[in-house]
Amino acid sequence: MSGIPDLSALADEAIAEISSAADLEALEAARVRFVGRKAPLTELLGLIGTLPPEDRGRVGKEGNAARRAIEAALDARHGALEAEAMGAALEADTADVTLPGNAFPLGALHPITQVRLEVEDIFLGMGYSVADGPEVETGFNNFTALNTPDGHPARSESDTFFVEGGDDVLLRTQTSPVQIRTMQQGPPPVYVIAPGTVYRRDDVDATHSPMFHQVEGLAVDEGLTFGHLKGTITYFLQRLLGDREVRVIPHFFPFTEPSVDVSVSWTDKQGRTDWLEVAGAGMVDPNVFANVGYDPERWTGFAFGFGLDRIAMIRHQISDIRLLYEGDLRFLEQFS
């Protein structure tokens, strides 16, 4: 069978040359030489019909196999050379990635708002609604209905802002009147919190502001006990402030009985642990239920209240309350 080249040797030779092609140009030359139109292999395959019948099958099969192997090698080498070229081009396209990237400046919600939203979300998760009431409020809702009678020192001009022209109209001193409004709106069960702005006639200094923020909570249902109050306030404070010990000690508020002060354990920078008072709470006084027409024999409930400013100040270690109300961007932008 002279005249027919050794196809496998031819393929080996071609693959060796292709693999060593240094660039795309050399690779093209190899392609033309081994599988181009004039290449011996191409010509051989074109002449298969002229071969003796007993050789046609073998030559056709081997010839096509050699061609496929060569083309595969060409593709592989082509891919490799292209990747190399792209890599080289990219390497040359240098950039100082430490230069600032495109800026998308983020502003900040006020730290009081941030705490308020967290508080709302915790209670929303427990099934509480978020209630609301006016800041310009009646003395009845702010005091009388909450068991603070006329003549109480808190109702004096030295403690409370009064509104001109109104009959005992004032700027609410607590969010507690929202309790009254909520209960007047409908029968139990009631599960609400009421965040809001409140006012007391304190001169401005590092720890006092005539305007500040509170959150009130109220739950009224059948079978609510002091144990539920403890459970609720403990769960809430631990969600908000982390896994701290929560302590209740007896206290006095006109509209709850029993009443408690709620503290959390807090470790300061020097490593001293102390109790930090964060909230007041208690079982709703039967007089308050009577004032809104709830039957105190059927319904029991608890209420709690705490200052958002105080929690924000504790959390962010803000030592001067005035910073909260000055609109100083050097302060506000720290909370983005």
């Binding site: 230069l99 600032p100 495109n102 800026a103 998308f104 400046p105 983020l106 502003g107 900040a108 919600l109 006020h110 009081i112 209670f123 929303l124 099934g127 609604s129 978020v130 800041e135 409020e137 109480h152 020192p153 004096s156 030295s158 802002f161 009064f162 001109e164 109104g166 009959d167 599960y191 006639r201 401005v204 005539p210 305007m211 249902d221 006990t225 002091f226 144990g227 539920h228 403890k230 459970g231 609720t232 403990t234 209740v248 000690i249 007896p250 006095f252 009985e257 029993p258 009443s259 079982m283 029991t300 909260l324 109300y325 000055e326 609109g327 100083d328 961007l329 050097r330 506000l332 983005s336």
Partner: protein, 808 residues
């Protein structure tokens, strides 16, 4: 209130040490604010380091006028050199000396010192350094009987621990040390010693009516008035033990008679008053309302003018005491007093509060009367005081007492249902335990299977009147900390209201655009309205006005958030902040006819300078009207409201023509524009400042409630056509878009401005504007004719209605 534990322990024999007692008091509601340790800390080392010394000599310090160099025998082999600055030091005195190594009451350790070059091997002590008194004039000079070297701790035992208590307003009974002793008995079970209320011998001549008369003209303000007369009183200093107890409780010694009244008040919570009987006109006591304009010169030497609101204790001519609060000079006990009228009375609490606030006078006495004292208390305090007068001032008590009081009804017993205790507290407290607690509190308990019948002692009738009051007592003494904490099971039915959702989204979006949220005072100066240029008859000049504002800067409730934020910008610019964005979400206050207010919420944002990232390839532009309208429309969009900026608004506080109404769904939802330069000037702010306000209620009103419907503009081709035109400069872009949309019909899916130019190559009075129409119909491919028809109609309408000349 200051509670010297040494005094307390005389009345209640508790085994608890000081800190355990403090803890138990706090846990049961008598909050211990502070524990004060007084005197020399009693340690073994301090027994050695604090010694009695004899001053052998006192020489002038060579280099300091005020210092003396002492030689002091402190019981060692040789005298010790000590430098002392006290003015009263002298040779021959017996003094208390702290040697190097002594641990002082404050905890610091004394070392050797050199004072102006002279070595000092110790310190001569004053009473204040030993924390036995609040202040002192010099060193403590002790009895010469004491031998040099004697441990000071043996001579001056430390006065001990003082607890500073924060009492709750319902516990008037705890304003005396004996009241706390009762409380300690209740919370610890420690034995309580009964107060000795035996009178001294009534050895004064005659009977009380022979000496003085009493008329109570205002029984409504004075439920009980009691007076005794004491003769042969010797006014002088009080014994040391009494002085030390008064000082420990925070009062100063005056003389034995005054000290007795204070001492008994500290013990029983019943204020007493001692008069010099011989200075009272009549002599007679009249308890009456003051006459309008009547004056009194109080003990502090001040003349005070009274009115008919004030209750006075007068003689037959003039006021001698502002009842329960402060006495007059003329009737006070002094060195020459020999006959004393002693008063123990109770007054109406609210009246005491009003008078005390009105006159700006709050005293130890008025603080106790504010809570309203029980009418059973005066005889107790009177007996103890009379006995002390006898023992310490040699007084003879005249038999009998003047005593006017209405017969008070004893409150009815209270039924305490066992089941109710569990219902409120959520803990099973045995009926027997509850009864025990109430009995220790002084109640009489008639036990029952379902309920106890409880009679409250006279000292608690003010705050224990209902079943719930008893439940609180049972709970707090049992221990609220012992009640198990559980979470209620409730059916979740909570969601934020649309207003709440809108406010949250607006704030979050504004912050995400780089603005920071401020909270400014909601009370503002009234002149803000003028500074905003609001006309005299502008509706927004109606404000909620505060009658007792802290200052003119906080006089009225705001009608707009703009002034507060302008002040914030001013403060920021004052510390060289050139650019920024600030916003606030909050209420404004519109007076309503019922005397209250409508309180609509708004978001206001101010942008000043050229806010935004400034860097190596970013350079933000100065803000202008479009910064404001753009942000306003984006904010509205963030809450699902498609808004537009419309020209023609005339807000006085904004640039007259660079301002826009923000409208949506056919109503105005806000305003946006540049702040008027004159307004900026009046607020001290540098421009440019762009501002916007969106009203929350209006946004909620036009906010679509249905979910958006999908429009198929995906499976069909969407065509765009650009139209460039010259239009008169009086025509607004919004109008051009409206006309094009209207003329094009339903096939126009969108119309927007993509270029705007005025200047060279554009004739005067004209503007070059380019708009792009997006044309498609869901579910159907439009023909070229249909698309061309849309543009032709738009072009024709623009020509006719706005005088546009199309450029191509």
């Amino acid at each position: 209130m200051k509670l010297p534990l040494e005094w307390l322990r005389e009345h209640v024999a508790t085994d608890l040490d000081d800190s355990a007692l403090a803890e138990r008091l706090t846990a049961t509601g008598t909050a211990v604010e502070r524990t004060i340790e007084r005197g020399i800390p009693a340690t073994g080392a301090n027994r050695e380091a604090f010694r009695i010394g004899k001053v052998l000599s006192a020489e002038q310090h060579p280099d300091a006028d005020r210092l003396r160099v002492l030689s002091v025998d402190t019981g060692d082999d040789a005298p010790r050199q000590i430098v002392c600055g006290a003015p009263n030091v002298a040779a021959g005195q017996t003094v208390a000396v702290a040697l190097p190594g002594a641990v002082m009451p404050g905890g610091q350790k004394l070392g050797k010192a050199k004072l102006r070059g002279v070595e000092s091997l110790g310190m001569v002590l004053s009473a204040s350094e030993l924390e036995m008194a609040e202040e002192s004039d010099g060193i403590l000079v002790l009895s010469d009987d004491l031998a040099a070297g004697t441990p000071v701790l043996d001579v001056l035992p430390p006065p001990g621990t003082i607890l500073e208590l924060e009492l709750t307003p319902n516990r008037g009974d705890c304003q005396g040390i004996y009241g706390i002793a009762r409380e300690v008995h209740a919370i610890t079970g420690a034995p309580l010693h009964a107060l000795d209320t035996a009178l001294p011998p009534e050895d004064g001549a005659g009977e009380v009516g022979d000496y003085v008369s009493l008329r109570v003209e205002a029984p409504d303000l004075c439920p009980r008035y009691m007076a005794c007369v004491l003769l042969d009183v010797r006014v002088g200093p009080s014994p040391e033990w009494m002085v030390r107890r008064l000082e420990a409780a925070g009062m100063r010694s005056i003389n034995n008679v005054v000290d007795i009244t204070n001492y008994v008040m500290l013990l029983t919570a019943q204020p007493l008053h001692a008069f010099d009987l011989d200075r009272l006109a009549g002599p007679g006591i009249v308890v009456r309302r003051a006459l309008d304009g009547e004056t009194i010169t109080t003990l502090d030497g001040q003349d005070r003018t009274l009115s008919a609101d004030h209750l006075v204790i007068a003689d037959t001519e003039k006021p001698a005491v502002i009842a329960g609060i402060f006495g007059a000079e003329f009737a006070e006990v002094s060195g020459g007093t020999t006959r004393v009228l002693l008063e123990a009375a109770t007054f109406d609490g609210p009246s005491i509060i009003r008078t005390s606030l009105g006159l700006g006078l709050r005293t130890e006495s008025s603080a106790r009367f504010e809570k309203g004292q029980p009418t059973d208390l005066p005889p107790v305090a009177m007996a103890i005081a009379c006995r002390l007068m006898h023992e310490l001032a040699g007084a003879s008590l005249v038999p009998g007492a003047l005593d006017e009081h209405a017969v008070a009804d004893r409150p009815a017993p209270i039924t305490l249902r066992h089941a109710r205790v569990a219902t409120i507290l959520g803990a099973d407290i045995a009926a027997g335990e509850a009864a025990g607690i109430l009995e220790r509190l002084g109640c009489t308990v008639q036990p029952g299977d379902d309920a106890h019948v409880v009679t409250v002692p006279w000292w608690r009738t003010a705050d224990l009147q209902r079943e719930i009051d008893l439940i609180e007592e049972v709970g707090r003494v049992h221990g609220l900390d012992r009640i198990p904490a559980v979470l209620p099971r409730l059916e979740a039915h909570a969601a934020l209201t649309p207003e709440q959702q809108v406010v949250r989204r607006l704030s979050r979006y504004a912050a995400d655009q780089g603005l920071s949220e401020a909270i400014t005072y909601r009370f503002v100066p009234e002149h803000d309205a003028g500074r905003l240029g609001l006309p005299a008859d502008d509706e927004r000049r109606k404000v909620v006005r505060i009658t007792n504002a802290l200052s003119d800067e906080m006089a009225v409730m705001r009608r707009s958030l703009v002034p507060g934020l302008l002040r914030a910008v001013e403060r920021n610019q004052a510390h060289q902040r050139r650019d920024g964005g600030i916003f606030e979400v909050g209420r404004t206050y519109v007076p309503s006819n019922d005397g209250l207010a409508d309180e609509p919420e708004e978001i206001t944002a101010l942008l000043f300078g050229a806010p935004g990232a400034r860097g190596w390839r970013q350079s933000p532009a100065d803000v202008d009207v479009w910064a404001a309208t753009g942000l306003a429309i984006a904010l509205a969009g963030a809450v699902g409201v498609e808004a537009q900026a419309i020209a023609g608004l005339r807000q006085p506080w904004m640039h007259p023509v660079r301002q826009a109404r923000i409208t949506a769904g056919g109503i105005v939802v806000g305003v946006a524009g540049e702040v008027h330069p004159a307004v900026l000037r009046d607020f001290g702010v540098r421009g440019p400042v762009a501002a916007l306000t969106l009203m929350v209620r209006e946004l909620v009103k036009v906010r679509p409630s249905d979910p958006r419907r999908y429009t198929d503009l995906i499976s069909v081709p969407v065509s765009t056509r650009d139209l460039a035109m010259l239009i008169p400069d009086t025509v607004t872009a919004a109008h051009v878009l409206d006309v094009a949309r209207e003329a094009g019909g339903d096939l126009v899916r969108g119309a927007e401005v993509f270029d705007h130019y005025a200047g060279d190559q554009v004739p005067d009075g004209r503007v070059s504007l380019a708009i792009r129409l997006t044309i498609a119909e869901p579910g159907r491919t439009l023909t070229d004719d249909e698309i061309d028809g849309v543009t032709q109609r738009a072009v024709a309408a623009l020509g006719d209605q706005v005088g546009a000349e199309l450029r191509s």
